[in-house]
Symmetry: C2
Subunit: 231 residues, 2 copies
């Protein structure tokens, strides 16, 4: 699969509903001409900390992670973006360079729109400006909320959180394949890899979940939610 297979038309794009619903045909055409879509294989870097921000990016398909590399070389995952999310947070307005790195954790298609075009649309189409900010605000808000949720909980609560996140918000199913390694889970919720494994095993023994490698099934979601609530 290469990028030429994925090129689509903004006018018919199913993501048009997103924040672009109030654009005219003209305006959509403008975006359509200037956008590019790129396919990334699992593990590919989409952009790196420090790169210049040239485009507004949003995720058509797949799953990506936003992360930062600490001095200690340990990675720290800030958030996971799912289809329809715009990626890159608010830096597109407040910075000229990316503050975080982004890579694909599943095969992904990212749509790039020249940032200048977006900014011009904001200037010229006020309704769009509001739609747009509503969307990106809610993404950033939820990152903040999530960070707080995670670091006010202890290990069992954090693992419960991430299992519920994948189940409810990403795969919409109680059975799914973990797209990330145990190590990456650890980086996402601030704990050691060993303890991720330990807690997952505990949950298995407690009959909250079933695990087989990457395959996870939540078998007692009520109790898992309770574990999350109690922290």
């Amino acid at each position: 699969m290469d990028s030429s297979n994925t090129i689509s038309n903004c006018k018919t794009c199913i993501y048009k509903s997103w924040a672009f619903k109030n654009l005219s045909e003209e305006e959509l055409k403008l975006i359509n001409c200037k956008k590019t879509e790129k396919f990334y294989r699992k593990g590919d870097i989409i952009c790196s900390e420090g790169d210049e921000i040239k485009s507004f990016m949003y995720l058509q398909n797949g799953l990506v992670k936003l992360f930062k590399t600490e001095i200690s070389k340990r990675e720290h995952i800030i958030s996971i973006a799912k289809p329809k999310d715009f990626i890159g947070l608010l830096s597109i307005f407040s910075n000229t360079n990316h503050v975080y790195s982004i890579s694909a954790i599943e095969d992904s298609v990212v749509c790039f729109v020249d940032l200048k075009i977006i900014k011009n649309l904001i200037k010229s189409n006020g309704i769009f400006a509001l739609d747009f900010f509503e969307r990106i605000s809610s993404v950033s808000d939820s990152v903040i909320k999530t960070r707080i949720d995670i670091n006010t909980r202890q290990l069992r609560g954090r693992i419960a959180y991430i299992l519920l996140l994948f189940s409810k918000h990403i795969y919409d199913s109680e059975k799914f394949n973990l797209p990330i390694s145990r190590k990456e889970i650890a980086e996402l919720i601030d704990m050691s890899t060993e303890n991720v494994i330990r807690v997952l095993s505990e949950f298995r023994k407690d009959k909250l979940i079933q695990i087989e490698g990457k395959s996870i099934e939540i078998i007692d979601i009520k109790r898992l939610e309770k574990v999350y609530d109690l922290g």
Copy 2:
């Protein structure tokens, strides 16, 4: 001091530079008519979790904290806003109700502008829309950055962080009075009150700072920065 003493004119307001620099006289007049300024005494609640969001709020004077009350009744401080910061984060676009509570940690003056007016200005004045989002994006971005900075560090690094925050970003001096209690520091950087005190005492013994009650003086900022960097 009551609110009537503090009413000023947007046109001459020193904060005009903020994000309102590209408004016409007409537009400023519009804001000026509809804005209200309120004085809050240290400790006063400015708004509570769940309240409807009616205004865009920004801090003219003083210091406020944004916080959330956990199930356990323990408070958790998300951020501290200083003059010129807009307060309330992005919820003004992505929510109809406040997600966090806000209270004054020093005597403060908050300027309220009807949210509808701001939204209308965004619709009608594209340059303003961009200025505005640049500003509020950078505030939200820095909240995210701060949360990560804090929870990738251990106790000594966190205390160093908050001392440097007050010194560099808020008071612009190496000598200042802590505006918040030890308990609030604990709530801000996720640690126990006792350990806040313990680490502060250690810093004193190590000759990094001098403390007398709320009065703090940083006497070896280089080493304090090193403590922060090392985590």
